[in-house]
């Protein structure tokens, strides 16, 4: 077939070919050069010295040797902090969900009741999102003291920003037909939202929330490092006391929690979709 076509249709000449030979144009060249330059400056700024890794290998080996075997005697004591870590994520996500829904409604261009509210909620979302949860945790630890509660609060605020933005984008993508139809029946604004918008976006919203739950449990591990309780705090303490066998046990526990939550969240999301 192909050969036949080649015979009947005169082959395009080399110069006037429909698919010109790719030539490196000067602009592409410039971008490649700039890319390499950008990378090189980053290597200099971070003081990248691979030889340090080689000389440090002995130190790493030493730590690995001292963390083996993991000290499972301390496991029962670590279970409560583990629960704290998981619950920080759970509580934080749940509360964030409750607040993210109305905020997203105001922050979606097609459902916002008024422009000022749109900008206000967009600003709120940006602020909550741009400040990392670690910084929120530091602020709340100062405000309400050590423990898992400031960590949960940090997760609430940060997730509110993340979920609010994703929810708003999901709402902006919907087909406005049912909204228009329900508005014409004389239904109130809130009823139009809950009957036309919510059922349409529900699966996406649940998916986003489950993904966020997974992320939040992982970040609640880190939040412990700034005094917000949970496994992170245990990990920090064990590190400071050079109890490397406890550290390795905690890392294994962390691994199980993170992978477990990830799997459950992925499985649930698959069922929704």
């Amino acid at each position: 077939m192909n050969g036949f076509a080649l015979k009947t249709v005169p082959a395009p000449s080399e110069k006037g070919s429909a698919m010109p030979r790719r030539r490196l144009n000067p602009l592409t060249f410039l971008f490649i050069f700039l890319g390499i330059a950008l990378f090189l400056q980053s290597a200099i700024v971070v003081h990248a010295r691979p030889q340090d890794l080689i000389t440090g290998a002995a130190g790493i080996a030493d730590i690995l040797r001292r963390s083996f075997p993991p000290d499972f005697a301390g496991l029962p004591d670590a279970l409560w902090p583990a629960l704290e870590t998981i619950d920080m994520g759970l509580f934080g996500t749940a509360i964030a969900l409750v607040f993210a829904l109305p905020v997203a409604l105001l922050a979606a261009r097609n459902t916002t009741p008024a422009k000022p509210l749109y900008f206000l909620s967009r600003g709120l979302i940006a602020l909550a999102r741009v400040v990392p949860d670690l910084v929120w945790a530091l602020i709340f630890v100062t405000a309400v003291g050590l423990g898992p509660f400031p960590g949960a609060l940090a997760i609430v605020i940060h997730s509110l920003g993340m979920m609010g933005r994703l929810f708003a984008e999901t709402i902006e993508d919907i087909d406005m037909g049912p909204v228009e139809a329900l508005t014409m029946t004389g239904a109130g604004r809130l009823a139009v939202f809950s009957h036309a918008v919510v059922p349409t976006v529900m699966p996406s919203l649940l998916g986003i929330t489950l993904y966020r739950l997974d992320e939040n449990i992982r970040s609640s591990l880190i939040l412990g490092f700034v005094g917000a309780g949970g496994i992170g705090f245990q990990l920090l303490t064990a590190m400071n006391l050079f109890q490397y066998r406890t550290v390795s046990m905690l890392l294994i526990l962390t691994f199980i929690i993170v992978v477990g939550v990830e799997r459950i969240s992925a499985a649930l999301r698959q069922r929704i979709a």
């Binding site: 087909d175 037909g177 049912p178 228009e180 139809a181 329900l182 014409m184 029946t185 004389g186 239904a187 109130g188 809130l190 009823a191 139009v192 809950s194 009957h195 036309a196 919510v198 059922p199 349409t200 529900m202 699966p203």
Partner: protein, 256 residues
């Protein structure tokens, strides 16, 4: 039936762009009557329908629906006056993930404005009535099915059932068969005619198909360039009148 259900007089609409979409348009719609508006794209028929529904505010003229001056109302009173008008759109505009009956029930929300419906609950007491509306459009056995699984024709009939659940006096249909095949179009127009003749609804329907209009309408309104060209019974409408709606302006009006 002494007073017409919908009375439009001297309606004019100029868009902010300066285009005159409607000029001195008048029409009446009586209960029990199916009136079809015919015309080419951009002749002002959708604008007219939107002005009647109170979605657009006309530049001049008046619209009365069941005696209520739509053009003089705004906000909540307008929304309440509008409840006498059931809308059927080009697309069925159903919430696809919900059941058919839930979609029909949302048509009753205007009568049930309270915190329960605001939170997403459906008025349970209306369920038998919604079922009757569904039977009215011949889909009584589809109540529990997901709206997303319906065919185009079925979905459009469910949207009619939703409009009926609103207990309207008149239906306004904006090209309701635009996305349907000929058979489903015929069925839907038959349904609209039956609702007019048997249930005494006034039906105002914008169409693109002259043959459908001839078969189903009690009156045909021909529009061109924002003006009503004729308003006659189908039997009196001449073929040339219809085709003149779709002819372009004289060649000299076009740039060379």
């Amino acid at each position: 039936m002494s007073k017409p259900l919908i009375e439009v007089s001297g309606l004019a609409m100029r868009y902010p762009t300066g285009r005159m979409a409607l000029t001195d348009t008048s029409l009446t719609l009586n209960a029990g009557e199916l009136v079809v508006i015919l015309g080419a794209n951009g002749c002002g028929k959708s604008t007219l329908l939107r002005c009647v529904a109170g979605i657009l505010q006309p530049t001049a003229g008046q619209v009365h629906v069941a005696g209520e001056p739509m053009t003089a109302l705004a906000g909540r009173p307008l929304a309440e006056a509008r409840m006498a008008l059931g809308m059927v759109f080009q697309n069925a505009n159903l919430v696809k993930r919900r059941s058919v009956i839930a979609n029909v029930l949302t048509g009753t929300l205007g009568r049930h404005r309270n915190w329960k419906t605001a939170l997403g609950l459906l008025p349970k007491a209306e369920r038998p009535f919604a079922q009757r509306c569904l039977e009215e459009v011949g889909l009584g056995s589809f109540a529990e099915q997901r709206a997303g699984t319906l065919s185009g024709g079925q979905a459009q009939r469910v949207s009619v059932a939703r409009a009926l659940a609103q207990r309207p006096l008149a239906l306004l249909a904006d090209e309701p068969v635009a996305s349907l095949d000929p058979e489903a179009s015929e069925e839907l127009m038959g349904l609209l005619r039956r609702l007019a003749h048997e249930d005494g609804l006034g039906v105002l329907c914008v169409l693109h198909q002259p043959d459908l209009a001839r078969r189903h309408a009690d009156r045909i309104l021909g529009m061109k360039g924002g003006r009503v060209q004729f308003d006659q019974k189908p039997a009196d409408v001449q073929e040339v009148d219809v085709s003149s709606l779709y002819t372009k302006p004289a060649p000299e009006a076009l740039p060379a």
